[in-house]
């Protein structure tokens, strides 16, 4: 049987990893700029996080501790498969604890705990181009970035305000990086956008299908687009808390309780929720 040991460390050949690391370095040097790279074939279909996986496989070392989350969950099919692939071909330690991890690969969420300078967050990106909603042609969006011609994006926000009285973008809310490039922060909720600004950690974004890598280095100025008189607003969970761990002031998933039909809320970040419950159990504030 062919298993992970038949492959090079971290699956990709060293030449491919070097090429991806060079693209990452360029992305770090030009925050928010989409760097093209030769996206490799992987034993996972394009669109299932291959951009993030390639970044993770290129930067991971034997001493690293990896956490993979998908929509905040450590246990989703996508997260489990990615973890299995990386573990098979690297033997690195896998964790569900955000504090313990040195590399966190994620889709849709940034962990609730503040990230540290010795950690790297890798985000899987389906659509790296923030201007795609206003311009379908790749050649034109490239030119728009080159000229910092972002009026189409601002017009999109204006249209939202005119039609709905508020900006209706809930995820992939565009951000301006160091006042230069407009960037798609991947499908993280608006709630997570402020975490990108002046962060301690390095954020790497990989889009396997679209063959693009971009980055937000630590302490970079990241602003969510908004008008001077219409400030950026994140989702409001005022008065709501997690039914499992009691956490308030975190991003919550809304669920309909079977039987009663009432709305209940749970932490979107399952690792954070689990750790909080364990701590409370040890403190004796909640029962097992």
């Amino acid at each position: 049987m062919i298993d992970g040991k038949h492959y090079n460390f971290a699956f990709l050949d060293e030449g491919s990893k070097r090429e991806i690391r060079r693209s990452i370095l360029k992305a770090v040097a030009i925050p928010g700029y989409q760097v093209p790279f030769g996206s490799r074939e992987l034993p996972i279909g394009r669109g299932w996080g291959t951009g993030g996986i390639q970044i993770t496989l290129s930067i991971i070392g034997k001493e690293d501790v990896l956490k993979v989350i998908d929509q905040g969950s450590d246990e989703s099919v996508n997260a489990v498969n990615i973890k299995k692939l990386v573990r098979e071909c690297t033997d690195v330690k896998i964790t569900t604890d955000s504090e313990e991890a040195s590399i966190i690969q994620s889709r849709h969420r940034i962990p609730e705990i503040p990230m540290r300078g010795d950690q790297i967050l890798v985000l899987q990106v389906p659509t790296p181009e923030p201007l795609r909603i206003v311009e379908p042609r790749e050649a034109v969006t490239k030119q728009m970035h080159a000229e910092a011609e972002y009026s189409g994006m601002w017009l999109y926000l204006f249209e939202d305000l005119i039609r709905y009285g508020e900006i209706s973008i809930s995820s992939e809310y565009p951000v301006s990086v160091e006042g230069r490039y407009i960037m798609n922060p991947s499908p993280i909720p608006r709630y997570d956008n402020p975490k990108l600004n002046d962060s301690e950690t390095l954020y790497l974004f990989g889009a396997g299908r679209e063959k693009k890598i971009y980055a937000i280095p630590p302490h970079t100025k990241v602003e969510s687009l908004c008008f001077a008189d219409v400030p950026f607003k994140k989702e409001d969970f005022e008065g709501k808390s997690c039914r499992l761990c009691g956490a308030a002031g975190v991003y919550l998933d809304e669920l309909i309780e079977e039987g009663t039909g009432r709305k209940v809320y749970e932490c979107s970040d399952t690792g954070f929720c689990r750790k909080r419950r364990e701590r409370r159990r040890q403190d004796g504030t909640i029962s097992a």
């Binding site: 204006f158 305000l161 008008f227 001077a228 008189d229």
Partner: protein, 276 residues
């Protein structure tokens, strides 16, 4: 002497590689070189536009009117020639050789364009308010309330009901689409308005309203306009001076009454007599 708001010298727009024959002024077959098939869409065009003036441009289809307008608005690249704007670096800097950014600055701050085909000037799926705001955003405005107030003011100026400002132009009649285009072109108080066959394809009553609107705008905002039309009645009604184009060249120019009542060039005579 009064300084012109726009001065164009020896403007030439051609498509093709040219040959010795047409470069040396050989006789063209209409505007096409019989040897190398190069099309001389505009050839050695010189115009001056003064403050508050409406300069009419007439000529048959294919005479170079729209090419002239689109070249002035940087939609078409200019092959040769120079252009100067009073409101851009005091008329000292040539405009056709500027960078894309500078050309955009000129388009957003100094010139407004109303196309014959509203599809070229408007985003048909965006609201009318959004279409007008596009020009404000491009000029750097980032205050929503102020932009919205300006949109309201401009829609009032072109007599479009506020209740329709959320509607996309695709829901509007041709005349209303032209009025949205006009309000968009006026958004940043440009010094020059370029009007390319704005009444073509509209029925007579709608034409009359659009023409009246142009006249009102000129009186109210004192904007200089370059008005392209093949309709001599429109030119007579609005233009102070008129130039006549044929096969990419200006063949006659002067006061509108003089051109229409006492044409000198045989083509202008034919044009005037065929329509009166």
């Amino acid at each position: 002497m009064e300084q012109s708001v726009l001065k164009v010298e020896h403007l030439t727009v051609r498509y093709g590689r040219t040959c010795e024959y047409c470069r040396n002024g050989g006789k063209l077959d209409k505007n096409t070189c019989p040897h190398c098939k190069t099309v001389w869409a505009c050839k050695d065009v010189n115009i001056e536009l003064y403050e508050g003036e409406i300069l009419g441009v007439v000529g048959e289809s294919g005479s170079g009117k729209s090419t002239l307008m689109k070249s002035l608005y940087f939609d078409f690249p200019v092959t040769e020639g120079r252009g100067y704007l009073r409101d851009y670096e005091g008329g000292e800097e040539e405009i056709f050789s500027q960078s894309l950014q500078q050309k955009k600055f000129i388009k957003n701050h100094i010139m407004g364009m109303v196309y014959q085909n509203p599809m070229l000037g408007l985003k048909m799926d965006y609201s009318s308010a959004g279409n007008i705001a596009e020009k404000l955003i491009a000029a750097g405005h980032r205050n929503y309330a102020r932009m919205n107030d300006r949109v309201t003011e401009l829609l009032d100026a072109v007599e479009i009901l506020q209740s329709r400002k959320k509607e996309p132009p695709k829901n509007f009649s041709g005349g209303m689409q032209q009025r949205v285009q006009i309000s968009k072109a006026l958004a940043n108080n440009p010094a020059i308005l370029l009007l390319d066959e704005v009444t073509t394809g509209l029925d007579l009553s709608v034409q009359a309203r659009v023409l009246e609107l142009i006249r009102t705008i000129r009186q109210k905002f004192h904007i200089s306009m370059l008005l392209v039309s093949h309709d001599l009645a429109v030119i007579r009604m609005l233009a102070d001076r008129t130039i006549v184009m044929l096969d990419g060249r200006i063949i006659e120019q002067g006061l509108t009454d003089q051109i229409l009542d006492d044409p000198q060039h045989p083509y202008t005579q034919q044009l005037v007599h065929s329509l009166l």
